[in-house]
């Protein structure tokens, strides 16, 4: 027991404990508020997408922060997961009434399919490094979007009907379109819940922290910091990076599935290059390899534009200015030192108090 506590609160694992605590406490507070004083509809509607973006940003941080490869195609994995999830949920709907079970299956399938796609992509992609890798992932994101923009898929009593580029799907009575090209999925049953989002964040944190603190985490960081040295001690660079890439894709796919099932309509164009950049902004702002920071950055940057709605026409202007300011401030070395000094001061004061109490 004592050993376990030691492990939770020792210096090496403190950031992990903090991440878990923040997520759990945040969830409990929001749940309590929902059940007692009530929250505005606006904030209720932001809960699930925020959870999805947090998971997407966490998973991207595994690739960009921990593994050190710049990927610009993360929205592609979300897209694959989202549409796979919507399809599965739509197909199961007549047979499975339990919403939460359908959501779970959809998220699992979305994750697995995104993982398979991630595996296939990683084969050519991980032969490259740096800028080249970034550009190939960017292209991948575009390919996924273009493919989904041209898929028409409907279902009726006779089974599935599929056509490509042009909509030639003719459905018998009672049939419905699951995917209609650029219009995407329409009339999806909304299944996503805040609790599911919360559990997904915990799951993502569990996987990412266990990976980074394990032997695998050390090898991958070695590969990131010095490729040649890592290879010389027998680390298989490509396989290590591939594992990180695929796990990241799986988590992104799961978050995509949850995101897709939170809206009644979803267009493939939603998951474009801009979304990849947006997630990357969350990661960079939160700090490469810093999961707690990523969670905070995502919450702040996603909720901020909605909080600024009161400013009407100046909303996006103010938002971009705040973004620039935050980037400048968080990157300011002297400011960082001051904050660190402040933290140290607080720490020493608390420690002193603690020692007095022990006496």
């Amino acid at each position: 027991m004592e050993k376990m506590f030691k492990k939770i609160f020792d210096k090496k694992h403190i950031s992990r404990t903090v991440s878990y605590l923040i997520v759990i406490v945040g969830y409990i507070i929001i749940q309590l508020m929902m059940n007692t004083v009530g929250i505005k509809n606006l904030f209720k509607s932001l809960l699930v997408p925020t959870c999805c973006y947090i998971v997407a940003a966490l998973s991207l941080n595994l690739v960009v922060g921990v593994s050190g490869e710049l990927s610009l195609g993360h929205s592609g994995f979300m897209s694959v997961g989202a549409f796979a999830g919507i399809l599965v949920s739509g197909l199961l709907e007549p047979y499975l009434a339990m919403g939460w079970l359908r959501l779970l299956i959809a998220m699992l399938v979305g994750g697995v399919i995104a993982g398979i796609v991630g595996l296939l992509i990683s084969i050519p992609v991980l032969k490259l490094q740096g800028d080249y890798l970034a550009i190939v992932t960017l292209a991948f994101c575009q390919i996924i979007k273009s493919l989904l923009n041209n898929i028409y898929l409907g279902v009726d009593n006779n089974g599935l009907h599929f056509s490509f580029v042009q909509n030639k799907v003719v459905l018998s009575n009672g049939g419905r379109m699951l995917l209609s090209g650029p219009m995407g999925a329409t009339a999806t049953t909304r299944l996503a819940t805040f609790t599911a989002g919360f559990l997904l964040i915990l799951f993502a944190l569990l996987i990412i922290y266990n990976l980074t603190y394990s032997r695998f985490g050390r090898t991958i960081m070695a590969a990131r910091d010095n490729r040649i040295a890592a290879e010389s001690v027998g680390i298989h660079i490509r396989n290590t990076k591939m594992l990180a890439f695929v796990i990241s894709a799986i988590l992104a796919g799961m978050s995509g599935a949850l995101f897709g099932l939170n809206y009644s309509t979803l267009q493939p164009a939603k998951f474009d290059f801009n979304l990849s950049i947006l997630i990357l902004v969350y990661v960079v702002l939160g700090g490469l390899g810093n999961m707690t920071g990523t969670i905070f950055a995502t919450i702040i940057l996603y909720v901020l534009p909605e909080l600024l709605r009161g400013l009407q026409d100046y909303r996006m202007l103010i938002y971009s200015m705040i973004l620039i300011l935050i980037m400048l401030v968080t990157n300011n070395q002297s400011l960082k030192e001051k904050v660190e000094a402040l933290i140290l001061k607080i720490k020493t004061r608390f420690l002193k108090k603690g020692s007095v109490a022990n006496d």
Partner: protein
């Protein structure tokens, strides 16, 4: 100690910001009917949102000046994005929306249409033309109605017009493949062209990522010998197409639909390029009937420009809502669901006269029935093409 007090104060602030204020229960008696609206005020389609806002605000001032039922409009930015429109919808719910003007664009409206249906709030869109706003494959949304033509009608209307007025014999289409609105019209246009024997010689598609360079599509249309180029797209890519076609010396007859509207007010666009462009719209600013003349002069007085079809549709929506609210004896304290039932009964039975059409009626599924007009751009203004 100070720190703890500070923390508590911050926590209190956050909680008050997050919680709804509907628990107070001490609000004054409502003195207006609250109308919600969401549309793009930033981003690529902002001209539409702005035009709708202007038209709606003009009508609102006129209606309220009559001294009868008082209305209030709250417009939220949705950047023409369906997920953003979802958030905007929630913001409007928090505000206490009783009736809605829905969304300005189709893509955004498709996402929130089921929610209006579920929550049973009446919504009349000025310009969201996709059929997915009023019904889906499996069900008709009871509470959502349209003021503009639906996309299929625009496609069919355009094909008919080109055929009847012999604008050309060989038609090329350039459409945006990742846009609900554009593909919807293009598909219906192609289908209708097949029925009435209009020859389509070329179809070119582009998407968001390739919306700046159209030389490939234009070369294709030119090589196929097309003398009419049908452009069921928004004004922004259309302006690039007009520019690039003029640069390469290709001059077919350009035919647009309501998305082309707004091209004359686009900043930095040389309006001489749009000379001779046809577009199908329910509204022509040069019409001489009293309603239109009044609307155009008032609009020019207020905003210093000639209103486009979006402004006209929004103007009509406010008047149509006002007509139905008054006829249904709606009072300020009614909730949105009660009002919705009254409005549905009114809209499916009433006839409306506005600037975008006379004797306008609505079908039970929410689609509007009115006559399309074609206008042609001459000397930088719309002129009735008849």
């Amino acid at each position: 100690m100070k720190k703890i007090v500070k923390m508590l104060l911050v926590a209190l602030l956050v909680i008050t910001a997050l919680t709804g204020c509907n628990n107070g229960g001490k609000e004054d008696e409502p003195k207006t009917i609250k109308i919600g609206l969401s549309g793009p005020l930033t981003g690529g389609a902002a001209i539409y949102g702005q035009a709708v806002k202007n038209g709606a605000m003009l009508a609102l001032a006129e209606v309220n000046a009559k001294g009868g039922l008082q209305l209030e409009i709250n417009m939220q930015d949705d950047e023409a994005d369906s997920t953003k429109a979802d958030t905007a919808y929630d913001e409007l719910l928090d505000w206490g929306m009783q009736v809605s003007m829905f969304t300005v664009t189709s893509g955004a409206g498709t996402g929130v249409a089921p929610r209006y249906d579920e929550d049973h709030i009446f919504a009349l869109t000025p310009s969201g033309s996709a059929t997915t706003l009023v019904y889906s494959d499996t069900k008709v949304y009871e509470t959502t109605f349209q003021m503009c033509f639906s996309d299929p009608n625009q496609g069919v209307g355009s094909a008919d017009y080109i055929k009847e007025h012999n604008l050309g014999t060989k038609v090329a289409i350039i459409y945006k493949s990742d846009c609900v609105y554009s593909t919807g019209i293009a598909q219906k246009f192609v289908a209708r062209a097949g029925e009435i024997g209009l020859e389509i010689v070329f179809q070119g598609a582009f998407d968001d990522s390739s919306a700046t360079d159209f030389t490939t599509q234009l070369q294709g249309a030119k090589a196929a010998g097309a003398d009419v180029l049908f452009l069921p797209i928004y004004y922004e890519p259309a302006s690039s197409i007009l520019k690039q076609a003029s640069d390469m010396g290709y001059a077919p007859i350009f035919f647009g639909v309501d998305g082309m509207d707004g091209i004359l007010t686009m900043k930095g666009f040389d309006t001489s390029l749009a000379e001779g462009v046809y577009l199908l719209t329910p509204f022509a600013a040069d019409a001489t009937d009293d309603l239109t003349v009044h609307f155009v002069t008032e609009y020019q007085k207020a905003y210093g420009e000639i209103p486009n079809q979006f402004a006209a549709d929004a103007y009509d929506v406010v008047y149509a809502l006002y007509q139905a609210l008054t006829a249904g004896n709606v009072t300020y304290d009614m909730n949105a669901q009660t009002i919705a039932d009254i409005m549905i009964a009114q809209f499916t039975t009433m006839t409306f006269d506005g600037v975008t059409g006379t004797s306008v009626t609505w079908a039970a599924n929410g689609e509007v029935s009115k006559a399309p007009k074609a206008v042609v751009i001459k000397n930088g203004v719309y002129v009735n093409a008849e």
